[in-house]
Amino acid sequence: MAENATLTTLHADALTEATDAAMRAIPPAWPLASNVAVNPFLGQTGDGLAQAGARLRRVAGIRVTMPRSWYAGRIASGAIADEDLAAALACAPPDLRPKDVPALKEAAMRPAPEPEALPTVADLAARVSGIDWPALIAERIGAWAAGYFDEGQALWAAPRGKGAYAAWRAYATHDLTPEVAGLSGFAAHVADAPEDARAAIARAVARLGLRGAALASYFHRMLVTLGGWAQYARYRLWQAELAGGSDDVLVGLLAVRLVWEEALHGRHGDEIGARWEEVRAGYAAPVAPTNDLVVDAILQEAAERAAQRELATLLAAPSPVPAAGRPALQAAFCIDVRSEVFRRALEAADPGIQTLGFAGFFGLPVAHRRFASDVEERRLPVLLEPRISTRAGGPGDDAADRAARIAARAKRAWGRFKLAAVSSFAFVEATGPVYAAKLVRDGLGLRAAGAADDPAPRFDPTLDVDARTGVAETVLRAMSLTENFARLVLLAGHGAGVVNNPHAGALQCGACGGRSGEVNARLLAVLLNDRDVRSGLASRGIDVPEDTLFLGALHDTTTDAVTIYAADHPSPAHAADLERARARLDAAGKAARAERALRLPRAAGGRGVASRSRDWAEVRPEWALAGCNAFIAAPRGRTAGRSLEGRAFLHDYDWRRDEGFGTLELIMTAPVVVASWISLQYYGSTVAPEVFGSGDKLLHNVTGGIGVVEGNGGLLRAGLPWQSVHDGERLVHEPLRLSVCIEAPRAAMVEVLARHDGVRALFDNRWLHLFALDDEGRMAWRYAGGLEWTPVEARVECEPQLETAG
């Protein structure tokens, strides 16, 4: 007996461990209202590309690199040079790589084998029964999950307050669809299943004959078959853990999927027995890269090295001499790659203008309530918890707040009238003809999206002077903006004014939690114009001149128009400065639109770029961050005066003013990680759109207000739509992992990496490349992993491995 109990406990531990491992292998997917980019390889960053490729091939049937023909084309065109291939080859595992560059080139000409996932019981049952069980399971789980996760689309919501597995059991014991489709007794099977999710998992595993090493891999496979539903549940877990709690929704989903497997195994176990045994062995086998996967990874790295050579040439060009004296205008923008185009245009419009790059939430971790709203919006990077509460409008706006709420509630009552049974008939007969006018209005794009015009944000509850001064000081130091202030300093957040776009959040500011950035920008302006804060700053060594005015602004990345929130801080003395700033911003907007028009379809000559924001049929209002491939943290002088083509995140950073390298640590652990999530989301949505992309915008069907399904229903789809990385004829995003270039002492960077294992893994396993810029801004050193650096000039950097191979 005792021995049995010990075995049971051991088994339970193994199950918990495998469940946990599988859950952490799934990337989270945020709801579309706060849609932020997520690294789809989040659970794989402990491995390199080839190893991750081997795992994802097994559990998801995808490749993690481009087809070989893509690389072959670049080799043939000369974009990837022999030196790139040689260098990438030298760094690959010796026992699996081609013997030399000609062999690698030859391999590039052969198509890689098609990836295939290990089958599930449902896959095997489909083969013997002729019924498409995997599709039916996806459809059924989708039908239930859409209701369970619904945030308010259905008037008759699914029952609340139960865990995912309990809610599903209540649903599935009533649902007759599986039995109509041919799985008789399914509802009874569900009713007999254990009431607890983990017990259900344990029973299913026992009946399927799975144990040990097979578990984690098989669970991972199960969760992948749930697509975006598992990712959304993973998001719930992420949020719960960020707040110090936990969440069982994802465990519940795993149990649901396993109950299906168990039912199909019960029905078809005899017919699939032998094959299932082989498959089980497949799940238990260790994950290991094949020669082909290693070749793919080498080619990918070679493509990245080719891009890095170009970048190095660009950065090696001599820097323009920065204008001396007080700038006419300072304008801070988000590090977002879209800012690079605009900043360059603005600097070109007037050499007296100085621009800065900083994370678009301006260092303010804000939970904000909009005007007349009870809903708290997290306007900060999703890696952080909010530490400041704000709301729009002060006590003077109370009457307007009440009126706005009544109007919104009447509109909501009207909306329910529109959708309810019986009343929807009255609605249609009474108001249908009004929609003729709406069709004309929207068809002709007569309604502009416009920038948000809530009253200025304020702290709620208020912060004392010390706290406010502390926040202001931290932000200014992190921006490396502590002296030489202009008369007018614009703090420009960014957003995208678009209509009728479920993925609008993906176009907004990622650092502001997938929302537009004007709230944080305006809040910082409020803070820095505060007289008490100014005097506090002076005592802490930051002298802001009396005549400096800070103003929040919003850069609309779709139209390249900049809205300045001048009414927040009326200052007649700055009228002329403001007028000049507006003129320069207009000129810069025009130039930026003209440059962007070259990449956008149907936008020849720059006309029609702005009208995309009003077009309800537009699936490519802008390219957002497509094409991003570099992150540069250095003084602006290192990048000014040359075109980075809207592909680089630019973070102002001057290590000479960073005592103790606190800012360096912040940059490497926050903006760099956020940028890696963005870059790898684009990467994943490009190389594996079927799993890491959200599919075809033409078929998108918004579900529950949280996500999209493609077509009728089934799996939730997270990631970027295909239209966001492809213009119909070619890819607009080249899937290259980000090159992070930082002008700072190598030893300081190594120290940061040594302290942060998660960040170090990103660089060691090459999900990011790290370069140290020298004192002239040239890419001098490449981080080689293991806290080692190699000079960039060196031809072959992984000499020791090459010798072992040779």
Binding site: I131, D132, L136, A143, A146, G147, E151, G152, A154, P159, A170, H174, D175, L176, T177, V180, A181, A403, R405, I406, A408, A410, A413, R416, F417, A420, A421, V422, S423, A426, V428, E429, A430, T431, G432, P433, V434, Y435, L439, D442, G443, A504, R602, W616, A617, E618, V619, R620, D696, L698, L699, N701, V702, T703, G704, G711, N712, D727, G728, E729
Partner: protein, 518 residues
């Protein structure tokens, strides 16, 4: 000769279709531009037809073809209304698709089929002959089939299209049989002549059979229970197709009943069946819609319900109201589909102003009394005495819906200004409804038959309809009080799955069978 004018509309879009098929590939700039221009030309021809109707009166243009076998445009209140509606929605959809599909590898072909479908629908609604009607009816369905399979590799698209195909072919058989019975029975293929003879009482024995077959065709076309399954599954194709389908094509069934109203009146039993099936589908679809968390699917169920309501109106012989319903619903639904990308923002906006005030039993009772008072007042202003009992009953059903709006404002927790606003909205809705209804009756007087005085069967149906709709409306108003009761959980599951009618259809057609590579 001037009565040939409506044929310009389908001809323009047919021409646009040919142009588009000449460049089937991606970014066919010329084709999409000419499609929009041709749609505007069709719209102009439709509007001019209205002018012709006002100026010259109703009539049928000369037949283009051989004797009775040919095309002839009908100009009357029904056809010019439908022409204007379809060409307007067609223009909006084509303009939308031109941008929406930019970059698709088969955008030209898509535009071609879209134009061809529109041309067929325009040909249908302007039909003056049986031959034109039947040919356009079948052509619409076949062209639409190509649009539903725009992504031919999508298994779910194949599944939906196959259901649609089977349903449509059965409907085609019914329609062809009905057309033959009518042509033989009345001795002519001219629609106006058939309708005139039917109204005059010169009725062949086969007429009720023809009416029955027409009803079958109409029910299958308008996705009535239990053959609704395909309609709720055709989101497998780009959004503009859904908009066109739900705003243009799906109306063909209702249009058929309205067009042949005089024939339908010859078969009271058939009309009674329409009341039963339409009424059930309306309530069924409306309840299922409440449970749908996915925006386009919810809209599709809404269409099922709305089409049911329209069929109910036809069954009650309220043809002008059915026509009004088609127009109003089409405009609303076209917009709703094309703007469905706003659902993320829409759902987010619901929660911002705070919790919903839930009306209690007393508030609901007050709301119903108040709604009936509004009905009485507004109805008296428009004149009850000119209305048929059927129309009065229908007005009552709709006012039950208005009661739901009132109840939300009368909830105890609702602030006063909100109560005022919802009351104002209710009065506005009731007034707009009566105004539109009166307008529809006036405009179609003479074209569509008057509603006959109800017999015992009709009275029974009227009472049944008012009671069931009243019950559902009351249940809807009291919704938050019972919907989350555990006893309702099972009902919710069954309803959310559409009572499995579609699952059975899938089973019969082998919808979930594994596709063998062909």
């Amino acid at each position: 000769m001037i009565h040939l004018l409506p044929l310009i509309a389908p001809a323009a879009l047919a021409a646009a279709s040919v142009v588009a098929f000449l460049s089937p590939g991606p970014r066919p700039r010329f084709a999409v531009r000419s499609a929009e221009i041709m749609a505007l030309l069709a719209l102009a021809a439709s509007v001019l037809s209205v002018v012709v109707l006002a100026d010259r009166g109703a009539g049928t243009g000369p037949t283009v073809g051989f004797g009775d076998i040919g095309l002839a445009a009908r100009v009357d209140a029904v056809s010019v209304t439908m022409l204007s509606l379809v060409s307007f929605v067609g223009w909006v959809v084509l303009r939308y698709a031109a941008t929406y599909l930019d970059g698709e590898t088969r955008q030209g072909a898509f535009t071609g089929w879209l134009c061809a479908t529109l041309a067929s629908v325009l040909l249908l609604v302007s039909a003056g002959t049986l031959v034109q009607f039947v040919a356009a009816w079948i052509a619409t369905s076949l062209c639409l089939h190509r649009l539903l399979l725009f992504h031919p590799d999508r298994i779910a698209a194949q599944r939906a299209a196959r259901k649609k195909f089977v349903t449509a072919r059965i409907g085609d058989v019914a329609l062809v049989a009905a057309a033959i019975l009518l042509a033989v029975g009345f001795g002519t293929g001219d629609l106006a002549e058939i309708l005139e003879a039917a109204r005059a009482g010169a009725v062949p024995a086969a007429a009720p059979w023809a009416a029955g077959l027409l009803a079958v065709a109409a029910l299958l076309k308008s996705a009535q229970f239990p053959t609704h399954g395909w309609l709720t599954e055709v989101m497998e194709t780009p959004t503009p197709v859904s908009a066109l389908l739900h705003a243009g094509v799906i109306n063909a069934g209702g249009f058929l009943l309205i067009r042949f109203a005089d024939v339908m009146l010859l078969a009271p039993g058939v009309l009674a069946a329409l009341v039963g099936i339409g009424g059930f589908t309306a309530l069924f679809g409306g309840l299922v819609m409440l449970t749908q968390p996915t925006v386009k699917t919810s809209l599709a169920w809404s269409t099922v319900a709305q089409m049911g309501f329209m069929i109910l109106q036809c069954g009650l012989a309220l043809f002008p109201l059915a026509l009004l319903h088609i127009v109003a619903h089409s405009l609303y639904k076209a917009h709703a589909f094309l703007a469905s990308g706003g659902a993320v923002e829409g759902v987010a906006a619901i929660r911002r102003p705070g919790p919903v005030a839930v009306p209690g039993g007393g508030a609901i009772a007050r709301a119903f009394v108040l709604a009936l008072a509004i009905y009485g007042a507004v109805g008296a202003a428009f004149g009850f005495e000119s209305k048929s009992p059927q129309a009065v009953a229908l007005g009552a059903i709709l006012i039950f819906g208005v009661a739901y709006l009132l109840a939300q404002g009368l909830a105890d927790a609702a602030p006063r200004p909100l109560t005022r606003r919802t009351a104002l909205l209710s009065v506005a809705a009731a007034t707009a409804y009566f105004a539109l209804q009166t307008g529809a009756e006036r405009l179609t007087a003479g074209t569509l038959p008057a509603t006959p005085a109800p017999g015992p069967l009709e009275w029974a149906l009227i009472v049944l309809a008012v009671i069931t709709f009243g019950f559902v409306a009351a249940a809807q108003s009291a919704f938050p009080l019972w919907a989350h009761h555990p006893a309702a959980a099972g009902l919710r599951v069954h309803l959310s799955n559409g009572l499995y009618a579609n699952a059975l259809f899938d089973r019969v057609l082998g919808g979930w069978s594994v596709r063998r590579p062909s």
